[in-house]
Symmetry: D2
Subunit: 106 residues, 4 copies
């Protein structure tokens, strides 16, 4: 994401004085709520979906993720790379290849 | 997010031959599932939470969002900026300032 | 649900002194969290699922719904029948038959 | 729940020929989606909420749970009592009393 996009998200919150509502817990709820509006695009039919709606709902999830990173002072590359290191260890290529089983079952 | 982080997420899927499982609908479910593992960090106590767990679960949500952008060939800056333009119109500063009411109630 | 089952759910909470954690908001989070553990049973494969896991996760959702009814002093038949009356009006049989479109699109 | 309420939910589906859409996976998505509309009632303010909206969204969750019990041929008392037996063992009163910690941390 371009820094200008991140700044736009941040400025949106500042301009509306919404930081007071953006507790980590409220943002976690918001991410789940928007994730389910995204899921609703696939509720009854997984093949045919409204791409415009998907774009908007996915954007909403991402915006709240950016808000949460900001609120907790987290660096997205740092937390994602730390998690990818764990994922790579949990799902070794030779065991996981072509297999969607949860790692506890591998 | 640095391009190298995005590439690492992409390579993880390729190495395990998991593209076949990454339908848009399955990724939407996965975003919701991970969002709720994040929410679980705040289930009974919103003030005291395990920051390490929050970092990991938020990273999981973001990784699946990157997978979905990739799968649908979407540009994150494009979809987020398009949505921010809508949000800015829906929540005019003068009406929304300090007010968490949903836009339909403004 | 038999009254004895409802009483067992209630007694479980009383015995552990957990009413203090069962705010309506915490119960709403809990219902979503358990709903997503249920959804996880269908994350990568919708045809083959672990029925025992489905039974347990669906039971968890229902238990928290009973907790919420109890906490808010709601009667399940009353709220469900009130909603069904609305649903029947929103989705007239002649329009909705065999059609999963959302009512706003009917 | 009175048998007449369960029958009304069932008849609603039959009349609209919606059984074809009610796969277990679609119902699991629907439970999560409705759970998050319930959660939205508490998104920014956990103390003040619209009780009428809560009643409706909780009813929606319950209706889809009834649909899923029906679809899978499950008995609600049987699955809830089986889960309560597990919960009672996982959270012994002496350890869990007044403590919302997850059982893995008890």
């Amino acid at each position: 994401m371009n820094p200008s996009t991140t700044r736009r998200i941040r400025q949106f919150t500042i301009d509306r004085d919404w930081d007071q509502f953006h507790t980590p817990a409220n943002l976690a709820k918001s991410i789940s709520i928007e994730a389910n509006e995204l899921l609703e695009c696939f509720q009854w039919n997984e093949e045919q979906y409204d791409l415009e709606a998907v774009r908007e709902e996915l954007a909403d999830v991402i915006v709240y993720c950016v808000d949460m990173l900001e609120k907790l002072g987290l660096d997205v590359d740092e937390i994602v790379n730390a998690k990818m290191t764990k994922n790579e260890a949990k799902y070794p290529i030779e065991k996981a290849k072509g297999n969607a089983a949860k790692y506890t079952e591998l």
